[in-house]
Amino acid sequence: MLNNLPLLSLCWLWPLLAALLLVLIRETEWLKRWLLLAALIELLLTLLVVWQFNPADAGWQLQEQRLWISSLNIHYQLAVDGISVGFLPATALLTLMVVLAGWHAEPRLPRLHFGLLLALQAATVGVFIATDLVLFFVFWELTLPPIALLIGLWGQGSERLFAASLYTLTMLAGGVLLLFAIVLLAINHADLHQGALSFSLPDLLATPLTLARQHWLFGLLFLGFAVKAPLPPFHSWLPVVAMQGPTQLTAVLLGLKLGLYGLIRFAIPLAPQAAEQHSDALAVLGVVTLVYAALLALRQTNLRSLLAYASISHVGLVLLALAAFNQQAMQGAVMQLLNFALIAASLMLLAGMLYQRFGSNDLLHLGGLAKPLPRMATLFFALVFAGLGIPGSSGFVAELLMLLGIAQDFPVLAAVVLFSALLAAAYWLNYLQQAFWGPLKQPALAATGDLLPNEAALLSIALLLILLGGLLPQLLLTTQAPAIAAWLQLIKL
């Protein structure tokens, strides 16, 4: 019975359905419970996908295909492979954590708020499973309205409307580039197949592309995804959104790096020779991002903007690893993308919990919190050290693999990576020291309670998974290995 179930369709349809059903519920308490139930069921569905997934197979699995728009030969086509399958439970788990973190908050317009969260989840899952480029583009653009509305309506800062419009305009600009790239691909396919258009990723991967066209295509796709990733100089929306937006949403934005996923899934495999030729430029951009954002993070006093810059710095590291084009670096990069969902997102949620209690994430107002809030301090330290790549955490495995991969192709840049690790220790430990240690700055606020059981529980789940990834990394790495090997084969051809 399970084999006949359109599992992947369910994965993105269920959150939408659950969002629509919210209309039927009147009381806020029950809305929350329904939201939690929906998130749990989604997690189960994605875990079912992982269970059905055969890790030894490098190809597309659990495929679903139906003709959607026949005149343009656009299909409703879903599938997962070893690279994308991990992102489904990551998305579901992150949403569940976001829901739990907001359990005690009473948002305005709760029905709309919860509905948008679920809609965002549906669109994000869609991005990870769509293998028809038009369908992918639709999901990609559908992530925009929920995010913009969530920032604009529930943002924390006074400039939330500005942040929302900045985000919208930036993403629309990036989207246009992607659309051009998709049209270019379809036209190329038509040229070679007697005018037959195709938007299916497996088809397009098999279609040869002249080098000149590859350069155009890679440029368009790279720029389109760089805006979302974000890579400098298009990154300045992220700190603004992190400061102005609601922490629950920014946790999702920091946790799921759709832009980098797009680079791995579409930009590099579709224009392999162009990517290979530009690998030095990519590596340099990666290194510049890594160091530049780390230096900026050094000057931040607000936890949320610090997290934004730290995350940009890590994006640079992943880009550098991608540019190395070898198995170790790629496995590390994909693992690091999954780590974001656990580490960066958890830290952002913690920032939200801190904000709920003190009304600030700024060092100006925080100090000596370890004494009144021991549980929060412990979890915060653990997560920060996981982010710094201390052994035993999945961060260590990902960074070690990336370092090993980078050292093969760019040994000098490996030294720069380690220098930026030094900077990372500096900005994180400095923040920790000033916020949690030293004398208590605002004794009046010390009475605010420590983490509540559900808050501590959700962060502990993340921490346990981080630990599992660090102690037994083979569990995850073997799932990805065949697909990544196939991915590399595609490029080296």
Binding site: F162, S165, L166, L169, P232, P233, F234, H235, S236, W237, V240, Y292, L295, L296, L298, R299, Q327, Q328, Q331, G368, A370, K371, R375, T378, F385, I390, P391, G392, V397, L400, L401, L403, L404, I406, A407, Q408, F410, P411, V412, L413, A414, A415, V416, L418, F419, A421, L422, A425, L429, N430, L432, Q433, F436, W437, G438, P439, P473, Q474, L477, A481
Partner: protein, 524 residues
């Protein structure tokens, strides 16, 4: 049998640490009553571990031919690269494990009474147990990655114990600073692992050392240099010596075990472990000798004027470590290893007795510095100021870096952010104009006499509003804005160019350019 015993040595303290941490997080460990439980868990785990270590050592002595590396399985395997969990090694590793385990046991037993009723009693025992696990893994692991894991955890424990009294700002600041300094060495270690993986396709210590001679001369030197950097930082050689003084902030037992007996020797251990590799790189050996000699002199000179017992001990430690580095650099590995073991015992004892020395001599005045030193004014000052070493390092590294970070921030705000947010002021202005126009139109709409401005119905009003906004837009931006703004913009650009030129001529950027071009030359 041996394999199981060997794995128990680091595992037992690790289990104790995890158990203690969990009990404490669950809120079960509070107050005096729980102290006995905590102490019992930590001390008995450590005693068993120490027993296991001694057994393994004795077995190794009796049957040296049976000494081998035990393989427990792959931790990571990608392509043809494997990182395996392996324990074992020569008699040197086993003896150090037995010695360190014994010292740790003694310090733990000492802490049971010494730390009685101190805040953080339970935390101390959890961290000491974790340190024991880390150090024993460090000396027993036959794979560089696992040695690094022990290395890093030892650093983490040291960080947590320096910040033992975290309410005190100095303790907190020192902990942060020590950890960041140690990260330099960690970077060297990681780079060495990565390079060994790339060049030798293995991270086993045995393979690295045996195949070092196959490598290119330059490659061996780089590899040895990375490991030497790790050792220099961890064992407080110049120019990293000042972190030791900051680290003395922790409670006495932790100082004894970290900076007297056990952890501080990790660097020397790393050198002795890799003697075959280092011997291929005479340049690095010279560097070790020079650095060791300078450290010994520096520590002696600075130690002359110290009046505080812990600081004096710290300088004595770094001086002794300097002597060990000299022996290593000259190739007297045997001497260095005996020196290491002897110094560990003596320094641990001296630091443990430091509080009672202080207690017994509390009323006595401090002995003045030697007469010859007080006469030599600059020498005395140099000694008192500890050679201005930390200030110099700050001046060379920390300050320029933080200034560059500041410059980057202004670039971010003045150049990069406007690039993306260019339409933002436009949006804002349009929004405010729209508001104004709305008000204007709204005012007119109530005025019945003005028929011209009146639109009828929704569509009419929308058209009216749009017309007003676009008229205003045209007027403000196209006609008015561009003409005047372009002149101002040009002038601003000129100023910016001047500023950039000024900035680029500053020493930190010149240094940066030199560094970058060096990197490029090295890379190509």
């Amino acid at each position: 049998m041996m394999a199981q015993l060997l794995v128990l040595i680091p595992l037992l303290p690790l289990l104790a640490a995890v158990l203690l941490a969990l009990l404490q997080l669950a809120g079960r460990m509070n107050g005096d009553g729980a102290e006995k439980v905590t102490a019992a868990i930590a001390v008995s785990a450590m005693a068993l571990s120490s027993l296991a270590a001694s057994t393994v050592l004795i077995a190794g002595w009796l049957h040296p031919e049976r000494l081998e590396v035990h393989h427990y399985g792959n931790w990571l395997a990608i392509g043809n690269w494997q990182i395996a969990f392996q324990l074992g090694g020569g008699l040197f590793n086993l003896s150090l494990a037995a010695l360190f385990a014994l010292l740790l046991l003694i310090v733990m037993r000492f802490s049971v009474n010494y730390m009685h009723r101190e805040a953080g009693f339970h935390r101390l025992f959890a961290l000491l147990s974790l340190l024991a696990a880390a150090m024993l893994l460090l000396v027993l692991s036959a794979n560089a990655v696992f040695t690094f894991i022990g290395w890093e955890f030892a650093g983490l424990c040291s960080y947590s114990l320096i910040a033992y009294a975290y309410e005190r700002p100095t303790a907190a600041h020192n902990a942060t600073r020590v950890f960041i300094t140690n990260r330099i060495g960690d970077g060297g270690f990681l780079l060495a692992i990565a390079l060994a993986m790339v060049w030798l396709e293995s991270s086993d210590w045995q393979v690295i050392n045996q195949h070092a001679s196959d490598l290119d001369k330059v490659d061996v030197t780089i590899l040895a240099l990375c490991l030497a950097l790790a050792a220099l930082v961890k064992s407080v050689q110049l120019p990293f010596t000042p972190w030791l003084l900051r680290a003395m902030e922790g409670p006495t037992p932790s100082s004894a075990v970290f900076y007297g007996g056990v952890m501080i020797h990790a660097g020397v251990f790393l050198l002795i472990q890799n003697q075959l590799l280092l011997q291929q790189a005479p340049l690095v050996m010279t560097l070790l000798t020079v650095s060791g000699a300078l450290t010994a002199l520096y520590s002696y000179w600075s130690g002359l004027s110290q009046t505080d017992i812990k600081t004096a001990q710290a300088f004595a430690t770094s001086g002794q470590l300097g002597l060990m580095f000299i022996s290593c650099g000259l190739g007297y590995w045997q001497l260095a290893s005996w020196h290491l073991a002897a110094h560990a015992v003596v320094r641990c004892y001296l630091l443990l007795t430091a509080p009672s020395v202080m207690h017994n001599t509390a009323a006595q005045p401090v002995r003045p510095v030697a007469l010859w030193l007080s006469r030599c004014r600059w020498g005395f000052l140099l000694s008192l100021q500890r050679g201005w070493l930390e200030e110099t390092m700050d001046w060379i590294w920390v300050r320029p870096l933080s200034r560059i970070a500041k410059d980057m921030l202004s670039i971010e705000h003045k150049l990069v952010a406007p690039l993306l947010a260019a339409p933002a002021p436009l949006i804002r202005r349009i929004a405010s104009i729209a508001e104004q126009e709305e008000q204007k139109i709204g005012a007119r709409l109530h005025n019945d006499s003005d028929v011209f401005a009146q639109g009828s119905g929704l569509a009419g009003k929308l058209t009216q509003w749009a017309a007003a906004v676009s008229q205003r837009f045209e007027y403000q931006f196209i006609l008015y804005g561009i003409g005047r703004d372009s002149i101002r913009f040009g002038r601003k650009l000129g100023h910016a160019a001047n500023r950039i030129e000024q900035l680029l001529l500053q020493p930190r950027y010149i240094t940066l350019f030199v560094l970058i071009s060096l990197l490029i030359v090295l890379g190509s």
